[in-house]
């Protein structure tokens, strides 16, 4: 018997619905079927790179306009493909319905011409995408050099924790004039397919449609990956997410194949002593902290998990940290539904760890954590819980410290965002935090919501790396020949 959800293979403008194989969704939830990719594998990569040329018959204005029209068709209430993706996500995603709906409703906005142009301009530069850019030089006699940002052939292994990842991938592929094979995750196999299927419905023969494919295969399937991850077929792999997945990929890397690893990251918060000025300030801080913890049900890498607090570690300091924990938990419970709800599939192993804290109640205070409501764990000394890396499903750990310098030392290259209070502390620490590995510093409460502007993404600059920076150098003809003679 085939599963209820069908995930078609979208192959360069063609919709393939045959050779179904069943797959199980994550969290034991939904099952879906997808065509057995092995049968279509030869057609998946772009064998002739010269056909990228057809993308260059389009101007960036035309690309932006096309994406704009696509965005207008991606309204959840009107688009049956997105509705189906939404239904499947309701079963597989860690986000509950109101949050999911909020994120689906945001999709058209990403495609607005102004947003897309901003991304092109701020991450690569429109002139580099549109043509060869003469490089400035201080030496007037130096031979002229021009550079252009050219598209490449890439496989994108995308994450499924929030729908925006697929949206972003489609937009980035279009503006860089690249060729994408998008491998969807089992926890969201349909959202990206819905977007590309809408593209196919809109213009099946459009160059942008014919240079994006969407496929599901089980990550690690050697039949597929050994054949696909070959520098003769693709040039880049853009991989989102899990450490194990990225480590697994590295076996295929070889000269000619570039891995753009959007590594797994964790985020945290840093709260200075000013938070404890008075009860009203603490309440204010707790609310902002609750947003960083709870938004998107803590499914994102941007969400706060370990929270260092400059409360002091003596008895009074611990009491201050506990008061913040109490207020934060209350604020977490009161977050609006489109931001955060109790988690619908609370992590069982995490629950076992939280339950065990009852046996060391001298060391930790736990607010919540009884069912799926989330929890704020307050350490009674300057160390996080041993399972800090497992914190999820709206569970955070407040760690009291005597000085913020102690907290700075816990930052490393796996740290993505740090939400900071107050602003002056961010000013004071931002260089130090950057040296330790932090990639994004935000005002407390903005970890998930200030993320809209195009930026370098975790210090990685994926767009600049998705294109190839090609150089054209010209020399004086006679001088070039003269090199052979003297």
């Amino acid at each position: 018997m085939s599963a209820a959800f069908k995930v078609p293979l979208l192959l360069r403008g063609e919709v393939i619905e045959a050779d179904w194989v069943d797959f199980g969704g994550r969290r034991g939830g939904a099952q879906f079927s997808a065509p057995d990719l092995a049968a279509y594998l030869p057609r998946l990569p772009l064998t002739n790179p010269a056909s990228l040329g057809e993308l260059y018959a389009l101007s960036l204005d035309e690309i932006i306009a096309f994406l704009g029209q696509l965005g207008e068709r991606l309204v959840l209430a009107e688009n049956p493909y997105l509705q189906e993706a939404f239904e499947l996500s309701r079963q597989t995603s860690g986000l509950s319905d109101p949050i999911l709906r909020y994120h689906y409703d945001m999709i058209p906005a990403y495609f607005r011409p102004q947003s897309v142009r901003d991304i092109a301009e701020r991450t690569i530069g429109v002139d580099y995408l549109e043509g060869w850019v003469r490089q400035p030089t201080a030496d007037r006699n130096a031979p002229p050099v021009s550079i252009r940002a050219v598209g490449s052939r890439a496989v994108h292994i995308i994450a499924g924790n929030v729908p925006v990842v697929g949206v972003t991938t489609v937009i980035r592929n279009a503006i860089t004039r690249s060729d994408a094979v998008i491998k969807t995750p089992s926890n969201d196999p349909l959202t990206t397919a819905a977007i590309v299927r809408t593209m196919i419905g809109m213009a099946p023969d459009h160059p942008l449609t014919r240079h994006v494919s969407v496929a599901y295969w089980k990550g690690g399937d050697e039949r597929i990956e050994a054949a696909l991850y070959d520098p003769r077929r693709i040039e880049k792999i853009v991989a989102w997410g899990g450490f194990a997945g990225i480590k697994h990929l590295t076996q295929y890397l070889q000269p000619g194949l570039d891995l753009i690893a959007l590594d797994p990251k964790h985020s945290g918060s840093l709260i200075g002593r000013e938070a404890f000025a008075d009860e009203a300030t603490l309440q204010h801080v707790a609310r902002r902290l609750a947003v960083d913890i709870g938004a998107m049900n803590q499914e994102g890498c941007v969400n706060a998990r370990v929270v260092h607090v400059e409360s002091g570690t003596d008895a009074e300091g611990i009491a201050r940290a506990r008061r913040l924990g109490e207020l934060t938990f209350a604020a977490l419970q009161a977050l609006p539904q489109h931001l955060s709800t109790p988690h619908k599939a609370f992590d069982r192993e995490l629950k076992d760890e939280i339950d065990a804290l009852a046996f060391v109640d001298d060391e930790y205070t736990v607010f919540g954590g009884r069912h799926n409501e989330g929890a704020v764990i307050v350490s009674h000394s300057a160390g996080p819980v041993d399972f800090a890396r497992q914190l999820a499903c709206r569970v955070a750990n407040i760690v009291p410290v005597d000085t913020v310098e102690q907290a700075v030392r816990s930052v490393n290259s796996y740290t993505q965002t740090i939400g900071i209070y107050p602003e002056s502390l961010k000013q004071r620490l931002r260089d130090q935090l950057a040296w330790h590995g932090a990639q994004r510093l935000v005002s407390l409460g903005g970890a998930t919501t200030l993320n809209q502007a195009p930026g370098p993404q975790d210090g990685i600059e994926p767009l600049r790396r998705m294109v190839k920076w090609i150089v054209d150098e010209s020399g004086d003809e006679a001088a070039l020949e003269a090199q052979a003679l003297t």
Binding site: D263, R348, E349, F359, G383, N412, Y414
Partner: protein, 474 residues
């Protein structure tokens, strides 16, 4: 009630004096009644003395056990025996470790001397020297060892009940029963003689009780201590590697100081293995022996032996006890045949067990694991944790009440997903009482990645940890 049921209700530990097989003939209502009575007594005795149990009971308004539902909120999470913060160990706070362990047992730890104790191994030895405990540790998931407050007397009891199981559960063809406690067999173990891991402690005690003394036993490492510190480091290293943070792991100085000892053992591993084979062959070749090891270790051993041209090494009346599946190790389909070809016999008793349990569940000829009447198994709803009805055939999360320990609380929720039956109809083998079907999975494996270190992984993890130790301290 039958005599057996009456006896178990009054004192579960008296099971050691019983015919092990008789436990599977008790009718369902009698077994239930006896177990409930024993559970009632255990709870009454322990809840005033084990603070976390008393607190959980108070929070749930439970003053006594009158039905199994009363027990549901009183089952400890399986994480309880590793609930200590790792920072206690990293900062050498073994006083706090002792206080923590003391909160989980009625055993008096006030005489334990902690002077100079700065490693887990030292601490475990100090507990053994200064109290009735023979504490055991697990092989550690995600870098943290569980530590159980088992007593010396309980260790002895466990080994004796296991002997009864071998005697009564699956007699030799012809119905002949062998009581290893009386009729000794040489013991062979491709592992450590000393250490506080559940296996090392069990094997050491088995050498005394089954083999009649250490002289009649052969260990791969007769003089080395299976180090909980190295094991814990191996686990932490693996967990840190899984997070890409291996380079950030801080090592205790006392461990670095012992690096030469570990390195020397590493260097002589091949020679030790040679000596072990040599001795096995010359001292015990052709004789009936007793063997215990998990399958992957046995296979590694058999592979080495077959490579050396060794076959049919031991006598046909030998006994192997094993368990634990393949532990994630890839072995050929015929691994058992290869093992038996090497060993020269195929009498084998497999168990489902866990360090936390004093009596394991042996596997019957139909592939199911039968709990002896001193262990009460439950199924919980995997999501809500609610107790599922004790009837029919159901799949859920396994929880257990071990009625044997009198000094710590035996109620525990496991991390295993199992299918259980046998409440109202006997197994095809004829035995009564609840049993597990062979398809047993860890929830953590079902969810996704595998960062587990189990018994089979331990030697390899050990090696890796020692490499790391050397690398970091050079």
């Amino acid at each position: 009630m039958t005599d057996l049921a009456t006896q178990l209700a009054a004192n579960p530990q008296s099971f050691v004096q019983c015919d092990y097989a008789a436990g599977f003939a008790v009718s369902a209502p009698e077994r239930d009644q006896a177990q409930l009575e024993a559970a009632r007594q255990r709870f009454a005795a322990l809840s005033p003395r084990i603070a976390p149990l008393g607190r959980m009971a108070a929070e749930n308004g439970i003053t006594e056990i009158n039905c199994w539902q009363d027990l549901a909120p009183l089952l400890f999470p399986h994480t309880v025996y590793k609930s200590y913060p790792l920072s206690f160990i990293e900062q050498g706070r073994f006083d706090r470790m002792t206080k923590w362990l003391g909160s989980l047992t009625t055993t008096d730890l006030s005489r334990v001397i902690l002077d100079g104790v700065d490693t887990i191994d030292d601490w475990l030895r100090a507990l053994e020297a200064g109290s009735d405990l023979a504490p055991i540790h697990t092989f550690g998931t995600s870098g943290k060892l569980s530590i159980l407050p088992r007593t010396k007397a309980q260790l002895d009891l466990t080994v004796r009940i296991n002997a009864n199981c071998i005697r009564d559960f699956a007699p030799e063809s012809g119905g002949q029963k062998r009581d290893l406690l009386v009729d000794h067999l040489p013991l062979i173990s491709p592992s450590y003689r000393m250490g506080a891991s559940s296996i090392a402690r069990g094997m050491n005690r088995q050498a005394e009780l089954y083999a009649g003394g250490q002289d009649n036993a052969l260990f791969l490492y007769p003089d080395a201590w299976f180090s909980a510190d190295v094991l814990s480091l191996a686990g932490r290293l693996r967990a840190a590697e899984a997070r890409g943070e291996a380079g950030n792991l801080a090592l205790p100085a006392s461990l670095i100081a012992r690096r030469n000892e570990f390195a020397a053992r590493e260097a002589s591993r091949g020679a030790d293995m040679d000596r072990f084979f040599d001795e096995a062959l010359h001292r015990f070749g052709g004789q009936d022996v007793f063997l215990f090891a998990v399958w992957p270790i046995l296979f590694e051993w058999a592979e080495e032996g077959l490579k050396r041209g060794l076959k049919n090494v031991f006598g046909p009346g030998s006994i192997l006890t094993s368990g634990g599946g393949s532990k994630g190790k890839v072995m050929p389909a015929d691994y058992k045949q290869q093992i038996f070809e090497f060993l020269g016999f195929d009498r084998c008793l497999e168990f489902f067990g866990m360090t936390e349990l004093m009596a394991n569940a042996p596997k019957c000829e139909h592939g199911n694991f039968h709990f002896p009447p001193v262990v009460v198994p439950f199924l919980l709803d995997p999501d809500s944790g609610a107790m599922l009805p004790r009837d029919g055939r159901r799949t859920g999360r396994l929880a257990l009440l071990d009625l044997l320990p009198e000094s710590y609380w035996g109620g525990l929720v496991s991390g295993d997903r199992v299918t259980m039956a046998g409440f109202d109809a006997p197994c095809a083998c004829g035995r009564h009482g609840p049993y597990l079907e062979p398809d047993i999975a860890r929830f953590s494996d079902i969810k996704d990645g595998d960062d587990k270190i189990n018994c089979a992984g331990a030697p390899e993890a050990h090696d890796k940890a020692i490499d790391f130790l050397l690398e970091q301290s050079r």
